[in-house]
């Protein structure tokens, strides 16, 4: 039993990330070997292995196996391996170590059996992913990482408050299906949804992910949002409010992506869009829709990784990231273009790709439940995906106006990574049974029925027609689109001004009454507030939350 405690697929990755700091030159080898060991451990996990550690406070369930967690862990590791292959030429050992820690914490979340373990690794995941963004070492990535971390610590706090409420009320922290009838369950839901990119905070995905380096964005796209999808399946499957949230995310992703100019930001918006499909599937909550959601998460991680790898190759080779700067690259980067197009077809659920066999399950689930409006919105979403990611991305990057850029395909390992990912997309598309056998429920579903193929092809071809007819109006311009982050972004100077003003008033009153001792303290306080950045403020807020929770517990 004690020996088995160490048989956790996340542990080799955590150890690997520490080893990278010791042996900086061997970072690639350590990364790949530790992921392979993790895969090995995962394949030898048998059913019914709950390592429960009991203490006086609660039951801490460090490792709880489920078929769903196995599926997610498998795709996390496959994507990790492909991504590591892709990032071999990136010479930043910090990024490589942090990516391993990030994957490791995501897998810990998958296998955690109680909310406390989940919360701890949830926060580790937030911090590790911020480090991954920061490792890009540009000014933009610094500020984007700050905004990302604040957003996630805020979500973590909301989640923690929910978990505290749950514990006080039920005295049970086991992860289980929750119903939305109490305030703390709503807070837990909000905490999870924030990580999934739900409204009103969908912007953090497109704000932070494109600021990573060409290789780190591949990893960032895979783990945070999909961990959140996993945990939503485990805790809130069948909550109908999720359908509305999912529909909003689908539409948000399409509309913002249509207006966007930055290549990777377009793909980030389409993450929101695709996670929207999954959230709708969770909201429907039947066996078919849960299967569909899990399958869609699996295929999404791979084709999104593929798309971001082809975008990353373009950025690696010509160091340009805007649609207005590129074009006509299919002549000079044929393999990148082909892989990018396969990814684009997969994301638009073209028949014979992985997207088709997973998305049609979610769409069919809405039909089986008789939800006509949801079904129609999913159709609009399907058409829109082809519009914004399926055609727009490859068209503006690889075709459109030939900018006569002289370059070649990326180096050999990057090509291998893209080719492997695109082969998996097609293999799953042709033999869906491979994926279906791993799904949590038994699958009685035929993706390649006449109805599915014909309706999907019709929708796709006519979306393409709509795209080319309105191409004139979709020309990219050097602009950005405002989002909800306008409310606080760049406003820190006003907050500082207001704080300074308040502190001045306090100090002046202070002087007037000449409480000299107090005045000194206020000086310290003022210096502190003005010099420390927002992150330490957030950390203090978390500490305060802990203190409050202790107080509640005592009383």
């Amino acid at each position: 039993m004690i020996n088995n405690l160490f048989a956790h697929p996340a542990l080799p990755l955590a150890i690997g990330s520490l080893l990278i700091f010791l042996f900086k030159e061997k970072s690639n080898q350590i990364s790949i070997i530790s992921i392979l060991i993790s895969l090995f451990v995962l394949l030898f996990i048998t059913d019914n292995v709950d390592y429960v550690y009991t203490n006086s406070i609660s039951v801490i369930n460090y490792f709880s196996y489920s078929k769903l967690a196995y599926l997610f862990c498998l795709v996390f590791l496959i994507m990790g391996l492909i991504g590591k292959l892709f990032s071999i030429y990136r010479d930043s050992y910090k990024e490589k170590a942090m990516v391993l820690l990030y994957i490791s914490s995501a897998i810990f979340v998958l296998f955690s059996g109680d909310f406390l373990t989940l919360y701890i690794f949830w926060e580790v995941m937030a911090i590790a992913s911020t480090m991954v963004i920061w490792s890009s070492n540009s000014e933009d990535s610094k500020s984007a990482g700050n905004r990302y971390l604040i957003m996630h610590l805020l979500g973590g706090m909301i989640l923690l408050l929910g978990i505290i409420g749950l514990y006080i009320d039920t005295n049970d922290l086991q992860i289980r299906l929750l119903s939305l009838d109490t305030w703390y369950n709503w807070m837990i839901l909000a905490g999870f949804l924030l990580n999934a990119g739900a409204p009103p905070f969908s912007h953090w995905i497109s704000d932070a992910y494109p600021e990573g380096s060409y290789s780190s964005t591949v990893f960032l796209s895979a783990y945070t949002t999909k961990t959140s999808v996993f945990i939503l399946i485990a805790t809130f499957a069948g909550s109908h409010v999720l359908m509305l949230i999912g529909i909003y995310m689908i539409m948000y992703g399409i509309i913002y992506a249509l207006l966007e100019n930055d290549i990777r930001r377009i793909l980030s918006y389409s993450i929101v869009n695709q996670v929207g499909f999954m959230v709708v599937g969770i909201g429907i909550g039947t066996e078919l829709s849960i299967n569909g959601t899990a399958a869609h998460a699996f295929s999404h991680i791979l084709y999104k990784g593929l798309l971001l790898m082809s975008a990353g190759s373009v950025i690696y080779m010509i160091n340009k990231r805007k649609c207005t700067d590129v074009g006509g690259l299919y002549k000079t980067m044929p393999i990148t273009a082909i892989c990018g197009i396969i990814g684009a077809l997969a994301i638009s659920a073209f028949p014979l790709t992985s997207g088709f066999i997973s998305k049609s399950m979610i769409v069919d689930a809405s039909i089986h439940e008789g939800m006509e409006l949801i079904w129609l919105m999913l159709l609009v979403g399907s058409a829109g995906v082809f519009l914004h990611a399926g055609i727009k991305f490859p068209w503006f990057v690889f075709f459109h106006r030939d900018k006569k850029i002289i370059t070649t395909d990326p180096p050999v390992y990057m090509k291998y990574a893209m080719i492997i990912a695109s082969s998996i997309c097609i293999i799953i598309g042709i033999w869906p049974e491979l994926l279906y056998s791993l799904l949590p429920y038994n699958v009685d579903f035929i993706p390649y029925s006449g109805n599915h193929i014909v309706s999907q092809l019709h929708i796709l071809f006519f979306s393409a027609l709509a795209f080319f007819i309105s191409l004139k109006y979709l020309e990219r311009t050097l602009t950005l689109t405002l989002d909800i982050d306008w409310l606080y972004r760049g406003k820190i100077k006003y907050i500082k001004k207001i704080m300074k003003y308040i502190i001045n008033i306090i100090t002046n009153t202070n002087n007037a009454f000449s409480f000299l001792v107090l005045k000194n303290k206020f000086d310290v306080f003022e210096n502190y507030l003005l010099k420390q950045n927002t992150i330490s403020t957030m950390l203090i807020l978390i500490l305060i939350t802990f203190a409050v929770s202790l107080l509640i517990n005592i009383s």
Binding site: L258, A383, V454, F462, F468, I469, L478, L480, T481
Partner: protein, 71 residues
């Protein structure tokens, strides 16, 4: 004829061919009454896309700023 027009014509041809796939498949209608209308999927997909583009363009009037807005 430029590239764009060529693509549009190819698409129109493809789109006209696909309905004949109906012949080869045994159709089981599992959906709602609305998709029994002939040409529902193509028309719906087309209108949906145009509508999305129009909505995006309208939002752009309010939300679009120079890309140095936050600098």
């Amino acid at each position: 004829m430029n590239d764009r027009n060529k693509i549009i014509y190819i698409l129109i041809v493809l789109v006209n061919i696909t309905p004949y796939l109906y012949v080869f498949y045994d159709f089981k209608k599992v959906s709602f009454n609305i998709d029994n209308v002939i040409g529902f999927y193509p028309i719906f997909g087309f209108i949906a896309c145009i509508a999305l583009i129009i909505i995006a363009k309208c939002l752009a009037l309010i939300l679009k700023k120079e890309d140095t807005y936050y600098d």
